[in-house]
Symmetry: C2
Subunit: 515 residues, 2 copies
Amino acid sequence: MKPLDLDEFKRQGYMMIDFLVDYHRNVANYPVLSQVQPGYLRKLLPSSTPSNPEPFGNILRDVKQHIVPRITHCQSPNYFAYFPSSSSIAGLMGEMLSTGFSVVGFNWISSPAATELESIVMDWLGQALKLPESFLFSSNVGGGGVMLGTTCEAILCTLVAARDKKLCHIGKENLKKLVVYGSDQTHCALQKAASVAGIHQENFRVIKTKKSTSFALSPDSLLAAILHDIENGLVPCFFCATVGTTTTAAVDPIGPLCDVAKYYGIWVHVDAAYAGGALICPEFRHFIDGVEGANSFSFNAHKWFLANVTCCCLWVKDSSCLTNSLSTNPQYLRNKASESNQVIDYKDWQIALSRKFQSLKLWFVLRTYGLDNLKNFLRNHVKMAKTFEDLVKKDKRFEIFVPRYFSLVCFRVSPLVITKKSFCNGTNDEEGHYNEFGGKIINDDKKRLVNEVNRKLLDSINGSGKAYMTHGIVEGAFVIRCAIGATLTEEQHVIMAWNIVKEHATSILSKRSKA
Amino acid sequence: MKPLDLDEFKRQGYMMIDFLVDYHRNVANYPVLSQVQPGYLRKLLPSSTPSNPEPFGNILRDVKQHIVPRITHCQSPNYFAYFPSSSSIAGLMGEMLSTGFSVVGFNWISSPAATELESIVMDWLGQALKLPESFLFSSNVGGGGVMLGTTCEAILCTLVAARDKKLCHIGKENLKKLVVYGSDQTHCALQKAASVAGIHQENFRVIKTKKSTSFALSPDSLLAAILHDIENGLVPCFFCATVGTTTTAAVDPIGPLCDVAKYYGIWVHVDAAYAGGALICPEFRHFIDGVEGANSFSFNAHKWFLANVTCCCLWVKDSSCLTNSLSTNPQYLRNKASESNQVIDYKDWQIALSRKFQSLKLWFVLRTYGLDNLKNFLRNHVKMAKTFEDLVKKDKRFEIFVPRYFSLVCFRVSPLVITKKSFCNGTNDEEGHYNEFGGKIINDDKKRLVNEVNRKLLDSINGSGKAYMTHGIVEGAFVIRCAIGATLTEEQHVIMAWNIVKEHATSILSKRSKA
């Protein structure tokens, strides 16, 4: 057994490249969302590890037969679900190299190049995003960036840093008084991080946003929540603002929110997981105006920045807050470089100790494409989203639910269409759900009906396998999300997706109105 | 710009495979531990992202020139540092495929095959390790496994689960009473996890171990600590036992420790990060006898199991404890499959939401090599470690510091050699450190001298670039750790490493004794 036999390495490596090329050639033909029943795979695979080696060809055959048809094809040009998880050759090459080296870069000494490249690439990207100088290593004032797996980790690490900083002032027995703030549009990572960090659940504030303000969090609402908590003897600690929320890509007003939070000594984290990459384009940069007031900022380069899952970039203004909370100094890791304080030990910026050579991937992406092309790549997705939006707008049966800033379009079949008499006063509806509404539909019933029709439409689209979109519910309304950003998506796919939506809507609406 | 152009994909892919094959062909020739000054790379790279694309060849050239000479070569056959981070073609192929698909498998529906393969592979591996049935999905009693990045995550997730379970009984206002237990040999991940989870630092127990019992934690010591805490009104919550500690690969007596902990309702996690893989060999399995009493068990397949960084396998007996603490259920992720409770949503088993198709890598490893070969592969490393140990034993200047169970040898230049009169009563020592000791060396000074000589020896070995070992300090003694497990290491490398140790020792000792 030679697990690194060079001839075999080359043979299997080429085979795998061919396999991946082939996969990408055909990816548009697979049903995007796999149609499969839970437990399918256990029936197809042996129940235990084989005792003897199996040829690589057999394993690849099983991948083709049992795996490929049953994954959701995020790389399909017809993938419009969640947010993109965009892949690129550069991302793949960087990851291959990192996996090939398989170094563990917990501290500087364990692999100097891994640490140094990461801090350089984080500065490159921070500059490209026009982050404040204070967030960069190059400014030498204590700020800098780190690559983590996901935004969930970024939020947990910064929340723990904020928690410990606050407790340092007020005493750790006051943990129960700390309050964490987000809006009802903030990613669920915040609540999870708060709970992991021991914040009391009743001190987790979910501040309401409104459709009338496009689901952006109002600084006044934040202020009111803070004041209320202070009145009650609680201690505001951490606030997460979002640029590009998960459901509708709403943008919280960063500057004004930072002003409020800063006044009360609250750590502000800006989560730009999806939209962050777009901020390299000057026309989008204004969305984080005022970020100087924030303590930390993160975005997922694996979402809409070609870096393949997973790659979260986190910048902090004062890295000592992170390292105060997260550093460890066991004897077996001690070394002269760390003791000299001349180096970064990234283990102290994250939860995990072991870490890959993470920056290669992003370094490859930035160099292979260059900043100008990357801007155009992102703009092109935004343009395609506008095309989709325009198509929706032209069809009177539909409505755009919230303003579109980036490449996410939130839409639905219009309530006006669904609740008009001809559509819902039938008496023969096969499921019998709407018969009783007739002309006297009450408000909640109307809403339920509208949601149900839209949900049915989405299920129908996704069931076709020809496109995959997901949903969100905001202010009680079920909306369909079309998130454009898969690397292979071109205008033709967006137009095709719209045709699929129309076709399925026509079928559903005509069935209803006939009923 | 076509980030997934198929011709380019193939061209770059083949180039990268060739690059990696070439790297592995030459890896033995590089200095294992890079000799480099902090900040070297910033001087070599541009200060910002290029605006325009750069050819792939240029990027690879920079990798060759600036990165390869400055990483620590974990894949070198002469890498004996920390613990192995063993690479394999199968691991690399699996990771390539995962990166190529770039699916996000947060829940079942987001990529059914990703979730299903993971649960199957975790059952395969759990069986191979002869974990209790209750830790496997196949037993249908609530147990099962998940793949995380690192042991740090495994410990944090289980600790949070244990914390919340306990607080559920005693009320969350009692967080300050919870106590976490480990030994002075437990990995620093435990302390970090406790601090992230909000456990009060003064309730973190570091129980002393002794050389006389090979640094295994004594159940009596654990019991005494627990009783003392209970007497003081505290609440024992979580205990982490280790099979193969970081410094000396000591093994805590799992069964007896579980008996103690279980009686007091303490969650027991077994951390077998390094040694876990070896438990597939029947002759090592006894090290976790009694693991039935534990609540969770983890090992890092990226250490000594060919799965390339990072890949931590965690099994829990009662997965509902994990999911009670870590589940989130935002509207945008709701789906029929999750609501049917027929599927696993791995996002609820970990900190992060987004996750790669992690199981491919391990599936490839298990199938490509087969269980019998894997056992032999591990046994061969153990055999090589025995060879090294025997060589050390034969040289009277050295001593083996602790019994060797697996593939880690802890040794040092013997205090008898260093402190004998001829060695330390010189008066011309260039650094003048030992002159005053003469024949009247007191105990602490002796110890310091012994440590200093051994530290010097290790620095000298590592400075040669011909081998890389690391150190540990136990009971005040500086020991040199030779961890065998790099995929390419063969007996010749082990013998060569020993010759390097001898040669540098001879040089250092003769210099001393002449002085």
